[in-house]
C-alpha cells in the first residue's frame, strides 16, 4: 500500500483516522499486517471483506480495544492513548454483551457512553442526554426497560444511542446491518446520513453495501488481513442479486459466500 493510494480523495484537513503499517497479532496469529489507511474528515468509508478477513480486528485495533503489534494509529492526529479526544469517537459494536444477573435499563447503558478518556463521572445532565439520544433512535418509550428484555433490533438501537450520546465526530459501526430488521437498518442509515450531513466521519464494516450504498463514498477491502482495495465502492450487490451469477469481478472480491445456509432476503428501501 503506497502512501498515494492511502490518500483520501478529498482530504481537506488532517486525517481523522491515520493508520501506518499496522500489524495486529492475536493469540500468536498474525491477523493484520501492513495496513496503511488515512480517512479524512467528512468521509463515509465502508470496510468490506469476507468473514475472518480481519475487519472487526482492524476496527478494534483502531479504537485501542485490541493491542497493536506494529505500526501506528492516530485518531484526530493523536496516537492511541490518553491523548485521543475520545469524546469525539463513537463506537457501535455488533451486539450487546450477554445478559448477567444484574439488570441494566436503556438509560443506564446509554449514559455509560458519556464516560470517555479520563472522565470517570457522568455529567449532571447525563439522564436527559441519554433520553435525548434514545429519542433519536426511536427508543424513548422503552428507556426504562431492562435492555436484555428488548428485541435484537431494539438492543442495536440502544447501542447506536450509546455512541450518539457523545455527539461524535467519528462514528465507527461494526456490521450494523447483519441480522437486523429493516426498520433498525433504516435507523442506522438515517443516523449515518444525519451525522454525515453534520460533517462527521463514518467508518462502517459491511458485508454488502445494502441500504448504505447511496452513502458510501469509498470502500476498503480486506483479504487475509491485508488491504487489497482502497477506492470506489465495488458494485457487488446487483451482480450478487442475479441468479446464477459467478463470483468473479473485475475488481477485488468484496465477499466470498459463507458456508452456512443461504437465505435470500429482499431488502426494499
Amino acid at each position: 500500500m503506497s502512501a498515494a493510494q492511502a490518500e483520501p480523495a478529498h482530504a481537506d484537513g488532517r486525517p481523522v483516522i491515520q493508520v501506518e503499517d499496522l500489524g495486529v497479532a492475536l493469540g500468536g496469529q498474525q491477523i493484520l499486517s501492513g495496513i496503511d489507511v488515512a480517512v479524512g474528515p467528512g468521509e463515509v468509508v465502508a470496510l468490506l471483506g469476507a468473514n475472518g478477513s480481519g475487519k472487526s480486528t482492524l476496527v478494534r485495533a483502531l479504537l485501542g480495544i485490541v493491542p497493536i503489534d506494529s505500526g501506528t494509529v492516530r485518531l484526530f492526529g493523536q496516537p492511541l492513548g490518553a491523548g485521543v479526544p475520545w469524546k469525539r469517537v463513537g463506537y457501535v459494536p455488533q451486539r450487546l454483551p450477554a445478559a448477567t444477573g444484574v439488570p441494566a435499563n436503556a438509560i443506564e447503558v446509554v449514559a455509560s457512553g458519556l464516560l470517555t478518556g479520563r472522565r470517570l463521572r457522568p455529567p449532571r445532565d447525563a439522564r436527559a442526554r441519554a433520553l435525548a439520544a434514545l429519542e433519536q433512535v426511536g427508543m424513548a418509550d422503552k428507556a426504562r426497560r431492562p435492555v436484555h428484555e428488548l428485541s435484537g433490533g431494539q438492543q442495536q438501537r440502544v447501542l447506536i444511542a450509546r455512541a450518539l450520546v457523545r455527539s461524535p465526530d467519528l462514528l465507527v459501526l461494526d456490521e450494523p446491518t447483519s441480522g437486523i430488521d429493516i426498520p433498525t437498518q433504516q435507523t442506522f442509515v438515517d443516523t449515518v446520513q444525519r451525522l454525515h450531513a453534520d460533517g462527521a466521519t463514518v467508518l462502517v464494516i459491511l458485508h454488502e453495501l445494502g441500504p448504505f450504498a447511496p452513502l458510501i463514498q469509498r470502500a476498503l477491502v480486506l483479504r487475509h488481513g491485508r488491504l487489497v482495495h482502497d477506492g470506489a465502492p465495488p458494485h457487488a450487490r446487483d451482480e450478487h442479486a442475479e441468479p446464477g451469477h459467478e463470483h468473479t469481478h473485475p475488481h477485488a472480491d468484496p465477499e466470498t459466500p459463507g458456508a452456512g445456509p443461504t437465505i435470500t432476503i429482499e431488502v426494499t428501501p
Binding site: 478494534r60 479504537l63 485501542g64 480495544i65 492513548g81 490518553a82 485521543v84 475520545w86 469517537v89 463506537y91 459494536p93 450487546l96 454483551p97 448477567t100 444477573g101 444484574v102 439488570p103 441494566a104 435499563n105 438509560i107 443506564e108 447503558v109 449514559a111 455509560s112 457512553g113 458519556l114 464516560l115 470517555t116 478518556g117 479520563r118 470517570l120 463521572r121 457522568p122 447525563a126 426504562r144 426497560r145 431492562p146 428485541s151 433490533g153 431494539q154 450509546r162 430488521d181 429493516i182 426498520p183 437465505i263 435470500t264 432476503i265 429482499e266
Partner: protein, 306 residues
C-alpha cells in the same frame, strides 16, 4: 419487659453497639461490591479472595509470633488485607488473560489459600481453633480498634463503589466498549478487585471468610428479583444487606446462634421468599403483543415476485 425495653437494653450494651455498627457498615458495603461482581460473572470471586485471606491471617499470626508481639493475632487482620489484595489482583490478572485457563487457576488458588492457612497457623504455634474465628466470624469479639478499621475500610468501599458507579458499571457491563472509549479499563478493573478484597477483610469479622461472599452476593440475588435497573439493584441490595445483617445479629442477642451463619441463613430465606413471590411482583404486562410492530424481512411465497 416489653420487646422495646429489650431492644433498648441490647443497644445499651457497648459490645452489641460495636457489633451492630460493624454489621451495619459491612451490610451496606458488601452488596455494593457484590453488584459489580455479579455483573462481571465473578460471583465466586469473594470466595476465592476469602480463601486466600485465610493464608494472610495465618501469615500475620506467624509474623506476629516472630516479632514477639504481645498478642499473636495483632497482625492477623493486616495480613488478611495484604493477602486478599494480592489474591484479588492475581485473580483479575488471570481473568484479563482469558477465561479458559482462568477457571483452573482460580480453583488452585482457592485450595492453596485454605491449605496454606491451615499449615501456616500450625507453624506459627496456633491451632485450627484459632482459625475458626476467622472462618466463621467472631463479631462478638469486635474491639474498638477493629471497629475503626472496619468503618474506615467500609467508607472507602462505599465511596469507590457508589462514587464511581457509572465508570465501574461501564467497565463491568461492556469492557470492550469501555476500552474503545479510552477509559482506564485496567485501573477500573483493579479498583473493583481491590475494593472486593477490602470488603472481604471487613466482612471477615462479621460473617467469617467462608460466608463473606454470601453477604456480597445474596442481597444482589434478592434485589434483582424486584429491580429493573442497575442503580435500583445496587440500592436495594445494599438496603437488604443492612437489614439482614442487623436483624440477623440482633437475633443472636436473644438466641445463642452463631451470628455469621444466622445472617446468611436469614438472607437466603429472604431470597427464597422473594423468588417464590416473583410471579406476583412482576405483574403480567398490559395486554399487548410482545413482538415489535415490524415489517417482514422476507418476501413470502404468496407475495413474492416471479
Amino acid at each position: 419487659m416489653t420487646w422495646l425495653d429489650q431492644i433498648i437494653t441490647m443497644l445499651e450494651w457497648p459490645l452489641m453497639q460495636r457489633a451492630l455498627l460493624a454489621a451495619l457498615l459491612v451490610g451496606a458495603a458488601a452488596p455494593v461490591v457484590g453488584t459489580f461482581l455479579v455483573q462481571r460473572r465473578l460471583a465466586l470471586m469473594g470466595d476465592g479472595i476469602g480463601h486466600v485471606a485465610l493464608t494472610g491471617v495465618a501469615l500475620g499470626w506467624l509474623v506476629g509470633n516472630w516479632a514477639n508481639l504481645a498478642q499473636d493475632d495483632t497482625l492477623a487482620v493486616p495480613g488478611a488485607v495484604v493477602a486478599a489484595v494480592v489474591g484479588s489482583v492475581v485473580i483479575e490478572l488471570v481473568r484479563e488473560r482469558g477465561r479458559t485457563s482462568g477457571d483452573l487457576a482460580l480453583a488452585i488458588m482457592f485450595y492453596g489459600g485454605i491449605a496454606g492457612g491451615v499449615l501456616l497457623i500450625k507453624v506459627a504455634g496456633g491451632t485450627n481453633a484459632n482459625l475458626m474465628a476467622y472462618l466463621f466470624g467472631s463479631i462478638s469479639t469486635v474491639s474498638g480498634g477493629d471497629l475503626w478499621w472496619t468503618a474506615g475500610l467500609a467508607l472507602i468501599v462505599l465511596a469507590a463503589g457508589v462514587g464511581l458507579r457509572t465508570a465501574l458499571f461501564s467497565v463491568s457491563y461492556d469492557e470492550e466498549f469501555a476500552r474503545g472509549s479510552g477509559l482506564p479499563v485496567r485501573f477500573l478493573n483493579m479498583l473493583i478487585a481491590t475494593v472486593a478484597a477490602l470488603t472481604v477483610t471487613i466482612a471477615m469479622r462479621v460473617v467469617g471468610l467462608l460466608l463473606v461472599s454470601a453477604l456480597m452476593i445474596v442481597p444482589v440475588a434478592i434485589a434483582q428479583v424486584f429491580a429493573r435497573s442497575f442503580g435500583r439493584t445496587m440500592a436495594l441490595a445494599s438496603t437488604i444487606g443492612v437489614a439482614v445483617s442487623v436483624v440477623g445479629l440482633s437475633v443472636t442477642y436473644w438466641q445463642d446462634y452463631p451470628p455469621g451463619a444466622t445472617i446468611v441463613v436469614l438472607a437466603i430465606a429472604v431470597y427464597a421468599v422473594a423468588a417464590t413471590l416473583r410471579p406476583l411482583v412482576h405483574r403480567p404486562a398490559r395486554h399487548e403483543d410482545p413482538h415489535p410492530e415490524v415489517q417482514d424481512d422476507v418476501v413470502l411465497a404468496s407475495t413474492a415476485r416471479d
